[in-house]
């Protein structure tokens, strides 16, 4: 897809329309309030918050992936570094759009700075993601001008990766410290969010890179193919870790007789089930993991696209399932007004918030590819290595698994 070509114009047109619809939604939300959402005082957080978690974690995952070349110095990944950092920035911007429209009074956000509450995980999450965004922008600027090695550039890289590690833990702890909701309470959510960040970040990058190759008709070198296969291998391992974690969680939740778990068990199958397993887990985690296990599938273009797409969107499904099922029953006197259990389906306005967030993210991706030379590694001599025949030792890494 190139500037001026018809497909490109259609793409920009779609994104433009989505952003206009998003701006209209934002204005309507500011005027009429969040009564436009299908939320209430029981199901308090809904699709826009789920999408924020999804995109913010994906951004953290991309930053963690970028640390392979930028912090740990694995030079053969350097051709991916600039694109990874940019995607992390753009994805985080999309996340901020979603959370901005979820907040009831975004204009009071400056009190996050003026009146900080250091015991609040929401404060830490906001602060860390804000710092991470600034650091990623600085890092992107430094590597764009060819500064990969200066102490400032390295330090910014290290701190941004530290932020990307801590921020998902903070998102998890927002849920983990709610004594009122036993199904969330504890450190499980933090560990889960960190694993999900890695999973969605790697899945997003593989999906994006492969679709971009097709869209631009770019020639793929053998070295790039091998590295994509390596990324698919990383994806397999991360998906395996999330799968083990999810199955243990499901097993414990199924075995316990704690009343809160019995309550949510009735309502945690929003998307339906296959063989007793939630649909989003079956299709968004188990199936793609099985696909990635087979080398022939994992190393094919279609196999990688299907597996990474299922995993990427599967993580959104899993976030939503956890978010909604944990809120499905009222606490205390709210049962008087709302009944024993509630179901949820997003309103048109909630979908439009998601469309807005995604459109901002995709528009940034598009402009980044057009104007920022994301494939370039200015100032790096090691870049040539990626385009040369792969050393036999590195080839074995991909082939032996």
């Amino acid at each position: 897809m190139k500037r001026g070509n018809r497909l490109f114009m259609v793409w920009i047109g779609i994104l433009g329309a989505a952003i206009i619809a998003g701006i209209v939604t934002a204005v309507k939300l500011f005027i009429e309030g969040h009564g436009l959402f299908n939320t209430n005082d029981v199901i308090i957080w809904s699709l826009p918050l789920g999408v924020y978690i999804f995109l913010a974690l994906a951004s953290s995952g991309l930053t963690l992936l970028a640390s392979i070349p930028l912090v740990f110095g694995v030079s053969r990944y350097e051709p991916f570094a600039k694109r990874l950092v940019f995607l992390a920035i753009a994805t985080l911007c999309g996340a901020f759009v979603s959370i901005g429209l979820e907040l009831g009074n975004v204009w009071n956000m400056f009190y996050i700075m003026l009146s900080p509450n250091l015991s609040s995980p929401i404060w830490w999450m906001g602060a860390i993601y804000s710092v991470e965004l600034v650091l990623l922008i600085v890092k992107f600027w430094r590597i764009s001008v060819g500064d990969w090695e200066s102490p400032i550039s390295k330090s910014v890289g290290v701190v941004s990766v530290f932020c990307a590690l801590v921020a998902p833990l903070m998102i998890g702890s927002i849920f983990g410290i709610t004594e009122s909701r036993v199904t969330y309470f504890g450190p499980v959510m933090s560990i889960y969010c960190l694993l999900m960040a890695m999973l969605s970040g790697v899945a997003l990058f593989i999906l994006y890179s492969l679709i971009l190759q097709k869209a631009t008709g770019e020639q793929v070198t053998r070295a790039q193919m091998v590295m994509h296969d390596e990324l698919a291998l990383i994806l397999k391992y991360v998906a395996g870790a999330v799968l083990v974690f999810t199955l243990v969680r499901v097993a414990i939740e199924s075995a316990t007789r704690v009343p809160e778990f019995l309550m949510i068990r009735k309502y945690e199958h929003t998307f339906g089930t296959i063989l007793g397993l939630q649909l989003e887990v079956a299709l968004g985690l188990v199936l793609p993991f099985l696909l990635l296990v087979f080398k022939a599938v994992r190393t094919s273009w279609a196999g990688k696209v299907v597996a990474s797409a299922l995993l990427f969107f599967g993580t959104l499904g899993m976030h939503m399932e956890i978010l909604i099922s944990g809120q499905s029953h009222p606490i205390g006197p709210k049962a008087e007004q709302f009944g024993e259990a509630l179901s949820y389906g997003p309103s048109v306005w909630e979908w439009l918030v998601v469309v807005f967030a995604m459109a901002v993210m995709l528009l940034l991706y598009t402009f980044g590819e057009l104007y920022l030379g994301l494939e370039k590694t200015t100032g790096r001599k090691t870049v040539k290595v990626a385009d040369q025949p792969i050393p036999s030792q590195q080839m074995r890494l991909g082939e032996n698994r």
């Binding site: 969040h34 009146s115 410290i177 709210k334």
Partner: protein
């Protein structure tokens, strides 16, 4: 500095709901929001059934999860133990509402008291529209608007922020009782200083075995419940055989 608490005598409480109505009037609480509420439960199998009624309000917890989680300190503790909310600092993240173990915090999903701004009358040329009625009364927001609420909090809270019971801090400040206590026809509610051993709340807590809602969470609620009305009798038997 006092440490305010409330004791609710469940034997005296008849479940009339006067506390909730009084609270709504005193604090200009909008529709759909309940600063003063109740938990009801029916137990047993017909004909052996019983109805339980527990009035609820903000527990003004010593270790309030809503205060701990609020990112901007909009939800905060006063020195006298009251948990207060500052709408001007609230970003509307709703974490306090999510985090409250007692379900007593509500969000203003839309502009409050919208009904009273409607211009359509029930009977055309027969009755006044809500807006006209409001204008005739010369009141703000609702015809029964209480301006005294403005002493410590906006009279009505705007859309996009949360709100909850304040133990009528504006009245307490003047040495008056919270309005639910004042309005209770059965004198089931007692309000006072926990630190004062001679206050009625201290005396009642020493006289009866109180319970608090979800005590196991360690939040140290400052709303205590004592006694419980039950006219039933148990005939002596050897284990019911």
């Amino acid at each position: 500095m006092p440490r305010y608490a409330m004791v609710i005598d469940l034997q005296r409480c008849v479940g009339c709901g006067a506390c909730s109505i009084a609270c709504r009037n005193e604090n200009n609480v909008p529709d759909g929001i309940y600063w003063s509420n109740k938990i009801t439960e029916t137990v047993g199998t017909f004909p052996h059934v019983r109805y339980h009624y527990i009035p609820t309000l903000c527990n003004h917890c010593e270790y309030a999860p809503c205060v701990r989680g609020c990112p901007t300190k909009a939800m905060h503790k006063l020195e006298n133990g009251l948990t207060m909310h500052d709408p001007s600092k609230c970003i509307g993240c709703k974490y306090c509402e999510f985090n409250c173990p007692y379900g007593v915090i509500y969000f203003n999903w839309e502009s409050p008291h919208r009904f009273w701004r409607e211009t359509v009358s029930v009977i055309e040329n027969g009755t006044a529209s809500p807006k006209e009625m409001l204008a005739k009364v010369g009141s703000k927001a609702t015809p029964y608007y209480n301006p005294e609420r403005e002493a410590t909090l906006p009279g009505t809270r705007p859309k996009g922020v949360v709100e909850k019971c304040t133990f009528c801090d504006h009245r307490v400040k003047k040495g008056e009782l919270p309005y639910c206590v004042e309005a209770c026809p059965a004198s089931a509610r007692v309000f006072g200083d926990l630190k004062d051993p001679n206050s009625q709340v201290s005396q009642l807590l020493g006289k009866f075995r109180p319970f608090r809602l979800r005590e196991q969470l360690g939040t140290e609620p400052h709303v205590f419940y004592i006694r419980g009305y039950n006219p039933a009798q148990v005939a002596p038997s050897k284990g019911g055989v």
